[in-house]
Amino acid sequence: MTLLLSPTRRRFLAALGVASAAALPGLSLPRFAQAAQNAHAAGKLLVLVELAGGNDGLNTVVPTRDDKYRALRPNIGIGRDATLTLDQDTGLHRSMREMADLWEDGELRIVEGVGYPDPNRSHFRSIEIWNSGGGANGLNPDGWISQAAAKGAFAEFAGVDAHGLVLGGEMGPLKGPGRFSAMRDVDVYMEALSNLDGSRHAVRPTSTVEPLEHVLSTYESAKVTGDRIIAKLERIRRDNWSFPDSGLGIQLQIAARLIEAGIRVPVIKVVQDGYDTHEEQPDAHAYLLRDLSEALGAFSGALKDIGVWQDTTIVTFSEFGRRAYENGSFGTDHGTAAPVFVAGGGVAGGFAGARPSLDRLFDRDLVFTTDYRALYDAILSDLWGIDDNAFRRAGMTGLQILRSA
């Protein structure tokens, strides 16, 4: 209940001597003067949107002409009339008007049936599998982005402010070594940096005790990253675009503000929680998808104004889709494959991959058609030209997401 929390938070910040953002003077440069400066700030920008809880793909991108769909979803299935038409067989959930606009502009790609073999239906294990890129049996605790960074993926981005910023949720794909910071609240973040000690030695002390070494290096990187980001953010103290007043909306608003300020960072991660719809799904799901669509619509508008939409790619991901058949509580249980949205000014619009057949279920569930690691290969190669990556070497390839790639 944000109603309760916000006043306390304000008071908490006040107690720490932090002025509220609203009280600070607006210092933004004229928007278009900034655009030129921003255009190639960090090469291609990837914005990862985690749909936490497991999004129900079948009720998001709906196979409207499939009789099997209606049989699997007698109560919570969505009728053809209640969708936004994508093509003659397919409708988008009617809450997603802004996404439908992107589709019509040819800036939305829907990759169908994304998943992996031997699917795991545990939230925690499956998101770990998605985060690490290691497949069902992978054990690497690090995220696939930070693994790529460790292998030099972002070497060409000399002078970036960070390799990645998490604005909400777990570190996820950005977990592990590398210059990855989490900034879930700008004002708190700014104040906190001023209290970080232990990084002001000419030579940073090291430790052979792993947990302490972790603390030492984290303090160091937090300070370095923070100082640079804050220096740029100081220039922009005002939110120039309106976003939905939701968790996701606020995160994307901060993202827009950072991008406007000229932050150089190749990856931004945000999260939208609540997709674990075991019961009473229809209303909850409609609310979530509306929030997602409105927030991304506002975000794309902001990036167009700033002039970086052409260089931005938004990718949604979720730990799993949901069971093909509905459960007895007007909801759906943990499932397997689901579609992934890829949106951006340079994105090749349209469907990619094959739609899982509802006639050929395995274990009464969908069988994936596109390995999620092919998506990761496409991101690394299409955005940053990293053709020689672990996923391609493992044969996970064949997907294209950008027009010019």
Binding site: L3, L4, F124, V188, N195, S207, V209, H214, V215
Partner: protein
Amino acid sequence: MTHALRKIRRLALAIAAVAGAAAPAAAGPEAMDVDEARHLLSRTGFGAAPHEISSTVGLSYAEGVDRILAGLDGTPSKPMPAWTEAWGYPAEEIWSLGPTVAEFFEVNRAADMEGLRAWWLSEMITTPNPMTERLTLFWHDHFATSFFSSSNAQWMANQHRTFRSHSAGNFNALTKAVMHDPAMLDYLTNLENTKAAPNENLAREFFELFTLGQGRGYKEADIKEAARALTGHTVSERGEPGFHFNMETHDFGRKTIFGTRGRFDAEALVDLTLSQEEFGPYIVEKFWLEFVSDTPDPSEIARLSALWKDANLDLKPLLRALLTTDAFWDPDARGRLVKSPTELVVGTIRSLGLTVEDYGDLGWALEEMGQALFAPPNVAGWSGGTAWINDATASARAMVLSELLQWRDAPELSADAAATAPMMMLSGSRPRSVPAPDVGPHDLRVGQVFAVVAEAEREEDEEVIAHLMTLFDVSFAGHTWRSLSIWVELFGDDEAPYFAIFTGDCQPDCFATWPGENDAEDQWIGFTPHPELRGDVEWVATKDRELIAALATHLPMLLEQTRDQYVWLPQQEEDGETYQPAEFRDVMRMVKTARRATVDLVGSAKGKLVLAASAPGRLGLNGMTDYATIESNFEDLAVEIEEAARTFAAEPAVYFRTSAAWFADLPGTGPVSRRAEGVLLAVPLPAAGARTERIVGDPDALLRRIVLSPQYQVN
């Protein structure tokens, strides 16, 4: 306590500390030195205060461990907030007072939660047995359940009580209690787990996270079968909200789990699972990571696991063995654990003897660092270990510690204020004062009436009207009910409506004629008051007949109380259709018919109806004065309630007004900066020579240097 008295107390403690320091302090299993005492205390509690270290130095390892285990009976040192006791709020009915009241009800539950958080933090800060709190937190993390799922603070409080009372008890008993715990059953959607449509959520996490561990000795097929065993384990829909075994939705068929066939339920599932060969190491490893080091030793895990199983899964023998392993006392294990946010904050307050003025700020600090109590991120709990610290939480930790260090010069606490503050004192609102009504022995006293169901449908050309009302906060003839529901239903042209009373929410045995109905599947007594029944009512106890007579007689007046409630309004449905509930006047007509027929049968009420408005606290609506005007200053009121719930002050058993006073209490000998490091740090700071010397004359600066150091983050 006056300022002068405090000074005297501190002085006495300082003298005691000097006496302690004079004792011989050779390191080793037979007699702990300062480092070892700090290690034991801070690993099993929250930091270590100078006086705690002084009283532990010189004990043998075994004596020190025994002393800690002796305090583990789970009893808190101060009582939990009053609302956590048996009375339950009308959570299922409150909506009928309209959306605004319902939202205000939610505000109150959130405030309750804040109050419970504040209470727990204060308990952690003041308790003489901090290991109880560490273990309770350990189980909260292990059997992770979030308030944000049910929004039911009472369930969270009950669950907390379960963790606390079993904190160092028996794992089998604890696990069984958790599998019957309403907050858990709700969190993992077991309320929807029925024979007709099994829901695997709880069964999966039971194996993966609660008992065996991911990928250890169970298969997908075992999960499916275990889900069947857990069907029907749900929460009562009417009456006192608690665990309810629904015989209609439980699958009594035989299941095959781990190759064993049987008619398993939750109880049997726990026994079967905990007797598996593979069970043990996963839990013991978790204990190791919590108390020993970040690198579990597989052979030690196996040894401890076997020892634990031999002890019938009692936790104290396991804890004793764990805390006396060589690995625990190995100096190389020092600093191998990252402090959780709770350890960091509570440990700093206890170690330095700081004064806490506002627990609400502590709650926020914990959330910034990633550990909101009663709201773990998911059913796997907090990730823990080095995952506590990333670029962002590192900043938050430094900020919070910097703030804590200033909590020295708090204004004098008033004992009176501290005692009364947890009660609702709302300056902006005056609770409607209700004169205590004159209630006679045969009067029916009702606190609040909720109209919950009002249906009018046509079935085979016959009009069916059904109405459910719930009386809340009821008393009659010396008995009290939390709630008492009445169902009235009229089918077509029947002469009299069906009339049923819920018997399940009155303790003990309010219905003499139907004793023990509380355990039964069907807790309703119902009848159609037909004249032919006249002979049959003879065997109903007089008292019961009088109650039925009272309810029937007053039924129209009770219904009248609900005229403005939400249930009578048309509702918009999902498909865009409008749902038209029964008309109030039709239900009134039915209710009057029911009265007439029932009174003919059992006689009329001997006493009057006393409509006494329940106190806002009874309904869970603290701060409400008038349903109609609440909207005007809703947010102000919400904030006021939240603040009232959590604003109270306390301090650890030993506290210090100044950093200098704290330094005076330090045990050991040698330079004061080294002694301070010895009390606060598991690993020493890098030598800083002249820098330390420069600030040694400034106690605040010296403490700041230690507490804001990266070394302070590990233990």
